[in-house]
């Protein structure tokens, strides 16, 4: 009978016999026994043995009535829902029981029954469900919970049967606009409409007008936190401001929600505000400040949420020339205890935030990470330094010096990474070789990885004019040509051709022929062979016939021409950014990919156009507080008169502006009680301390 034994696999007949066995004995004991048997069914269902459990359908129907116990009912309904895909014949029988439950006076049971009705994909269930949904929603006196369930059931109905959905959608619109309806119901009606619209391709966007949107925002204080967050979510993209002042007004209405303790409310409010900023003519500096402050505070949430917030910050940084957030880099310094995915993201942000004025601070940090224990982290930091050098033209020297400094550590993986990075830096600034070239070639023997070997080969080839012993250096790579990784073989091949065309001496010629022979005769890779043959023919045609089209100079031009300058593109396509901004807080923003790219079923989201739309988003001016003009009129009126303090002994709320005398300050005592000293951050311990009889004596 122990609980542990519930959690194991059972055969249907075992449970059946247990259920029946319970029947004969005393009432109480048998009830417990039967309940245990039912629990076993649930466990087995969640362990995935549904086909075995399906055999027990008749028993479930039989016991539906006997124990009039909520727990038993829950299990029975759970069973029905789990069995839904089987569409067994027993469902017709069950329908009677479910409707009976729905018509009972018991609130939770009715909710349960309605949920079951909506989750069994059989037409008789749908009919019953539709009837019930209309009944519940039309009746004013039903409880909020039941009505919400009815709304969600309506959503399921529209998914299951297309014919009726038009009528249901109209009905939902009515509920949403019904002023007398409870706030929670109206908000959820909107949400359901939004969800339907989101998943059905044929439907237009909701397009709410100013008054409806206003109405909905007025509901916010009356809703619970989750409804709050959903309401803001549903408004984004569905309300289209028609002029600038509407947009300003909505922003002001939404701003208070940024101070909600629930992260999802904050992020959704944030999303809505960001969406609205596409329709304003200017931005207040205070708004930028408030947005930044509230998003930064979210960084102290648990890692998963922090991750989400970081990704969203990245999004706003990459997307805009003039970022809408102003945040200090120091928030993104990596902590020792951060999980690796957060470290990664922070590093990315640091890279994006780097500008001339904060570069030294960021480089200092990156240096710290480069010598970190975590190899991945350290590599990425070095890579970031290299990219910064490419990105910020004026700060190359600083970055290069740091890289060279790191090279002195002579730690193997750092050397590998730095060599690879230098290739990019030198491609961007070919003239900067003096400071690094000679230091780098010291490490010719220690480069191991294909990428860094390839880079080293490239560097040596590129600056062969400045290296007296370049051939010697180069030969250290060619000696073992066949054992190299394919990409190294490729770079050796093209380098050897370059060296030969630049300086056709017997030594280079021999080397060149050796490599060509090796790659054409001994290599297994057709690509390498092809390329080698191509080079070979090119060279021989240039050398043999003097009158041919190609001479040595032309060959040099082909194999050793000027390289295009590389540039880093850290900006996403504006259209993608637009879509991502509408998806703040969704999984799309974690992957930084537009929804449609991964799932064709999802509608791509676009910013709806209106007269107030700003086509040039980076052109929005940020206005400082002093020049604040018309938008302040909305808040000013509220901070006018304040009632005076009343002298009545009973404290009234009106006298908030005067300090109350009754506040009990805790003074520092010479002997502090140990109870107070053990305060920790854990709320439970705090609570215990507080609940002591005389906590402050």
């Amino acid at each position: 009978m122990s609980d542990q034994r519930i959690f194991s696999k059972y055969k249907a007949h075992e449970i059946r016999s247990e259920l029946q066995q319970g029947n004969s004995k005393k009432h109480r004991a048998s009830a417990i026994k039967r309940k245990n048997a039912l629990k076993k069914i649930v466990v087995n269902l969640s362990m995935g043995f549904s086909s075995e459990m399906a055999l027990l359908f008749p028993e479930i129907l039989q016991y539906w009535h006997i124990d009039d116990d909520m727990e038993v009912k829950r299990i029975c309904h759970h069973f029905l829902v789990a069995m839904a895909p089987t569409k067994s014949a027993n469902f017709q029988e069950a329908l009677r029981l479910v409707t009976e439950d729905f018509n009972s006076g018991n609130e939770p049971l009715r909710v349960l029954a309605l949920r079951t009705l909506s989750s069994v994909p059989i037409s008789t269930y749908f009919d019953e469900c539709r009837k019930s949904v209309y009944m519940v929603l039309n009746k004013g006196s039903e409880s909020e919970q039941l009505k919400k369930t009815a709304l969600y059931a309506a959503r399921k109905l529209t998914q299951m049967e297309d014919k009726q959905s038009g009528a249901i959608i109209n009905f939902l619109h009515q509920i949403m606009e019904n002023q007398k309806e409870k706030p929670g119901i109206r908000a959820n009606a909107l949400y359901v409409l939004y969800e339907i619209q989101e998943t059905t391709k044929t439907l237009q966007t909701l397009t709410l007008d100013f008054d409806t949107c206003m109405d909905m925002l007025e509901l916010l204080p009356a809703l619970n936190e989750w409804d709050n967050s959903r309401l803001l979510d549903s408004l984004t993209g569905n309300y289209i401001p028609q002029n600038h002042s509407d947009a300003h007004y909505m922003i002001e209405k939404t701003i208070p929600q940024l101070q909600h303790a629930n992260t999802s409310v904050v992020l959704n409010a944030f999303k809505f505000v960001i969406y609205l900023t596409n329709y304003v003519d200017f931005l207040m500096e205070s708004l930028v400040k408030q947005l930044s402050a509230s998003i930064i505070s979210l960084l102290n949430k648990p890692p998963e949420l922090e991750f989400l917030v970081l990704r969203n910050i990245i999004l706003l940084l990459i997307g805009r020339e003039k970022p809408i957030l102003s945040v200090d880099v120091s928030y993104f310094f990596v902590e020792f205890n951060d999980p690796i995915y957060i470290k990664d993201t922070k590093l990315e942000i640091l890279y994006l935030l780097a500008k001339e004025d904060n570069l030294s601070q960021i480089l200092q940090e990156l240096k710290e990470y480069a010598t970190d224990i975590d190899i991945q982290m350290s590599r990425k930091a070095i890579r970031a330094v290299g990219n910064l050098a490419v990105k910020l033209e004026r700060c190359v020297d600083e970055c290069m010096n740091l890289l060279l400094e790191l090279l002195d550590f002579e730690v193997e993986y750092i050397v590998q990474e730095i060599v690879s990075v230098f290739k990019n830096v030198l491609r961007r600034y070919p003239e900067k070789y003096e400071i690094c070239l000679f230091k780098l070639i010291h490490f010719t023997d220690s480069v191991q990885e294909p990428e860094s070997r390839g880079s080293m080969i490239w560097i040596i080839t590129q600056y062969s004019d400045h290296l007296r012993n370049y051939l010697e250096l180069f030969q250290s790579f060619t000696d073992n040509f066949l054992n190299e990784a394919l990409e190294v073989q490729f770079s050796i091949l093209s380098s050897v051709i370059k060296l030969f065309t630049r300086n056709p001496t017997p030594a280079t010629e021999k080397l060149c022929i050796d490599i060509l022979k090796c790659s054409t005769e001994k290599s297994d890779c057709p690509d390498l062979r092809d390329r080698a043959f191509m080079y070979w023919r090119l060279l021989s045609s240039a050398q043999q016939s003097q009158g041919s089209l190609i001479d040595m100079n032309a060959v040099r031009e082909i194999v050793d021409g000027a390289l295009p300058v590389i540039a880093l593109n850290s900006h996403l396509d504006p259209q993608i950014v637009e879509e991502l901004e509408l998806n703040i807080g969704t999984i799309a923003s974690i992957y930084l990919k537009p929804v449609g790219q991964v799932f064709r079923l999802n509608k791509p989201r676009r910013l709806p156009r209106s007269p107030a739309f700003n086509s040039n988003r980076d052109g929005i001016e940020v206005i400082s507080e002093n020049s604040r003009s018309h938008s302040s009129s909305l808040t000013e009126k509220s901070s006018g008169s304040r009632p005076r303090r009343k002298s009545s002994p009973v404290k009234k709320m009106e006298d908030y502006d005067r300090p109350a005398e009754t506040i009990n300050q805790l003074k520092l005592k010479k002997k502090t009680s140990s109870a107070a000293m053990n305060l920790t951050r854990k709320p439970s311990i705090l609570a215990r301390k507080l609940s002591m009889r005389k906590p402050f004596a």
């Binding site: 829950r74 939770p108 969600y152 930064i296």
Partner: protein, 441 residues
């Protein structure tokens, strides 16, 4: 939102599941263990989102369980999912103490009930434990009985339909009291040469309310933003240098606080939930000097010994003192035979953490203490392993003191019907945050 919720053990095998929508095939959860394994292969910490076959796996880790939800749509609101999962774990913790594999198995019936109440069709609903406890209790209720005694019918309390979804009616206390705890945690990142790279104050105001009826509370703080409406008095304050008001950077409030009222009038008013809750938290990133300053000189003579000289100073007012100061200094993993010289506190070598732990019970303001340590290193080592640059971690508590200078000016309680006298109590404490670290060279 979420299509389903799964509780999985640390290998990713299902303990308990609740499915809300049918759009995810049952085979999806069977892939979860192997996906976890794959991700673990790549890095030791698995990112909280995985995707496979068009199914999004989103999960958090808590003790030895994974709490997982899945969805098909990319436009799922992860912010809501993660906030909810954390809330779910919080709520479960109130029911079953510690949320772990065993307790989930033991209480799976009640967890099913909770999942039914907290999510409808995968959409989060009520998550206030106080409210849930009204009708989901540890015992199960008999319907037969309740029908007979119609008074005791268990049904969602009518409050759920009211605007105050977090407080039931009819609460009575003999003595009406409210306890406020202002807790500030200091996060600080200090470079090896003593420079403060980042510092921030994370404050919380926790409330324990023992108040009857439906009280309306009003909280006054010395925040600049809150008090700027009082322009005249504010100026005089500044000129006299007394009661200087501080400026909080960002405030976040519990859902009971009327946000629009705060935005417009800068007044914090609310009807509190019963019992404990976190009323608000705030953040300040003003540069502050380290409250507990610590300077460690670590000299490693490889293959022979390591020497540490450490000085710590309490840079706080002379009158106050820091309690339970703990300074954790990392040493190489293969260090042995520690020898210490110190004047204050207790010094211990903690091999399992590869660190030296210096504990000082009370550290009075302005005092400076130091210690010297000497540890041996093995003369034979393997190939040079790169040293982990673990930071020095500092922990402390300073009671009766807030770094930001925040003060509760008043807490007014008004119950329109009962009109009782109430007793607010306030307590302040500053402590080290999760990240009070000093990097080592």
């Amino acid at each position: 939102m979420a299509s389903c919720i799964y509780f999985c053990d640390n290998k990713g095998k299902t303990i308990l599941s609740r499915r809300y929508r049918d759009d995810i095939p049952t085979s999806a959860i069977e892939k979860f263990p192997s996906l976890l394994l794959e991700a673990e292969h790549e890095s030791s910490v698995v990112p909280p989102c995985l995707t496979h076959n068009g199914v999004q796996y989103m999960f958090i880790q808590h003790n030895d369980v994974y709490v997982l939800t899945m969805s098909r749509s990319l436009s799922i609101n992860v912010a809501e999912v993660f906030s909810f999962l954390y809330k779910l774990v919080d709520v479960l913790a109130e029911y079953v103490k510690t949320v772990e594999e065993e307790s989930i198995r033991d209480n799976f019936v009640i967890i099913y009930e909770l999942l039914d109440e907290m999510l409808d069709y995968g959409i989060p609903q009520i998550t206030e434990t106080k409210m849930l406890k009204q009708y989901i209790t540890q015992k199960s209720f008999k319907l037969i009985k309740s029908v007979k005694k119609s008074k005791n019918v268990v049904r969602p309390p009518s409050q759920l339909t009211q605007s105050v979804s977090w407080r039931p009616e009819g609460i009575v206390y003999k003595k009406n009291e409210a306890f406020l705890d202002v807790v500030e945690s200091i996060n600080m990142l200090i470079s090896a040469n003593g420079q403060v790279l980042r510092s921030e104050i994370l404050g919380k105001v926790k409330v324990k309310s023992h108040l009857s009826g439906m009280p309306d509370l009003k909280l006054g703080l010395n925040d600049k933003g809150i008090f700027t409406s009082d322009d005249s008095s504010n100026k005089s304050d500044r000129s006299t240098g007394k009661n200087s008001n501080i400026e909080l950077e960002d405030l976040k409030f519990h859902q009971c606080v009327r946000l629009s009222k705060f935005e417009n009038e800068k007044i914090i008013t609310f009807i509190p939930p019963d019992g404990d809750f976190e009323l608000m938290n705030y953040r300040l990133s003003t540069p502050i000097k380290p409250l507990i300053w610590c300077d460690a000189k670590i000299q490693v003579h490889s293959q022979s010994r390591i020497e540490i000289h450490c000085r710590a100073k309490a840079q706080i007012k002379k009158k106050s003192s820091a309690n339970n100061v703990e300074i954790l200094i990392p040493v190489p993993e293969d260090a042995d035979s520690p020898k210490f010289r110190y004047s204050h506190g207790s010094l211990k070598y903690v091999p399992e953490k590869s660190a030296i732990l210096w504990k000082i019970k009370t550290f009075n303001g302005g005092k400076e203490y130091s210690f010297a340590a000497h540890l041996g290193l093995p003369s034979m080592t393997d190939v040079e392993v790169p040293k982990a640059k673990r930071p020095i971690q500092v922990k402390f508590q300073i009671p009766y003191f807030t770094t930001s200078g925040i003060q509760v000016r008043y807490l007014k309680v008004q119950e329109p019907k009962l009109q009782y006298q109430s007793y607010p109590w306030v307590r302040y404490i500053t402590e080290s945050g999760d990240d009070y670290t000093i990097r080592t060279a």
